[in-house]
Symmetry: C2
Subunit: 228 residues, 2 copies
DNA sequence: CCTGGCTATCTTGTATACACAACGGTGATT
DNA sequence: AATCACCGTTGTGTATACAAGATAGCCAGG
């Protein structure tokens, strides 16, 4: 039942399936608590259960879903505290990236970083949060890469991806875009100047504030829910 | 009334298989470069290919093996530089654990930490590196837990596991055990005292030195090989 | 009416079967 | 003799079939 020649069919289908399912999880199509029925997923994507299972196992080992023996896979209810913990770690990873980047960044990487930064500026001026959001990811990715630590880049990227949905919630917060950009400016300056400790501290604060804002948001929602 | 659990509850076999294969990888039974034939593994463990595949996929998503489409799974040749990168990240994670632990450790956790530390002391006095090695793991685990960040604990534990084989190499280095213990002592003092920055710095150095020692070891081996 | 146990059914976990791509060997051609 | 092409073998990727455990619904008993 393979689809007509639209996919090279050369790579494992489970690989592609994993990305598809991940996309549906982070975009909220499969909200937390959802039970992921293997047969159902198989029918949905027009494949058999085998690739679906492999995809699920892969997602589980990354922590995106939970598989309990004989009880199937579910999208975990990530508690707010859990997310805060993840932001705490993310802040440290980014701080580390910044510290290393300030020491190791190459001239061409400096250019790439500044270019990404200017792109963010354009999005800010255009007041397009969605665009800014995407460019922001590139900006941070540039910093990761400038750390010249491939393993760190992988870890930071993975966690960044995993936090994406929660960060997305903050897009509409008042003035967040402008504030974010100003913080970016200071970070760029510190890295270019080679001030590793400053870059580290700024990045840690930059990410930490996101975690705190997330916590605020959750608290607000809880109050709202309680007040109903 | 019936005996509750004498059999491992028949959780997924792939789970157990994964641990078995992982064990064989980190202990060097399957050295880097080994090609992992699915059928062969299936025969070895007396199961079919399906659980083996699932175990391999899980190991691959953790980075312990590499799976190339249509070309099977292999134990990757982790370059020395790669391992150094991992140690660099590990140092930072441990530093973070120490910083948080110094601020958040509870009295009972203090006792547990000191107990683990004293156990290490006994192993040092008995001059039993293998025992010390195991107790050292518990010691570090105690610090992780004292950070009161569950996600961080998971990440640190996972990376620690993955670095285990490379750390093991350093067991026989001269005086390593005594030096390690002294460093531990300073770390414990800093955490108990609540000096988060000191604890952080000490732990970073403690782990970094392991990475450097690994690099030295590799360099030595390379020279040795080149001299042949 | 509620509770407790039993069974029916559904879903996961494992095994087997099949399809196709990649690697290696052999033979023919230059 | 060397090179290239063709074919067989091997092993991965996917589908299907089968077995076992878990949940839920139902019936019986208190």
């Amino acid at each position: 039942m393979t689809s007509p020649a639209e996919i090279p069919a050369t790579a494992r289908q489970s690989e592609r399936l994993g990305e598809l399912i991940e996309e549906r999880i982070v975009t909220g199509v499969y909200p937390p608590g959802t039970r992921l029925d293997e047969q159902e997923l198989a029918d949905t994507f027009g494949v058999s259960r085998t690739p679906v299972r492999e995809a699920l196992i892969q997602l589980a080992s990354v922590g995106l879903i939970e598989i309990k023996p004989r009880r199937g896979a579910t999208v975990p209810e990530v508690g707010a505290d859990r997310v805060c913990e993840m932001f705490e770690v993310m802040a440290e990873l980014e701080a580390m990236c910044g510290r290393l980047a300030a020491r190791r960044i190459t001239p061409s990487e400096q250019l790439a970083l500044q270019e990404a930064h200017r792109a963010c500026e354009a999005a800010r001026d255009a007041n397009t949060p969605d665009i800014y959001y995407q460019l922001n990811e590139i900006f941070h990715q540039r910093i990761y890469e400038a750390s010249h630590n491939g393993f760190l880049v992988e870890q930071a990227t993975a966690l960044h991806r995993r936090l994406r949905p929660y960060r997305r919630l903050q897009l509409r917060v008042r003035n967040r875009m402008a504030t974010s950009f100003n913080e970016h400016q200071a970070i760029v300056d510190a890295i270019i100047k080679g001030d590793s400790e400053l870059a580290s501290a700024l990045l840690r604060a930059h990410v930490t504030v996101q975690g705190e804002r997330f916590a605020d948001l959750v608290a607000t929602l809880r109050d709202f829910k309680a007040g109903t």
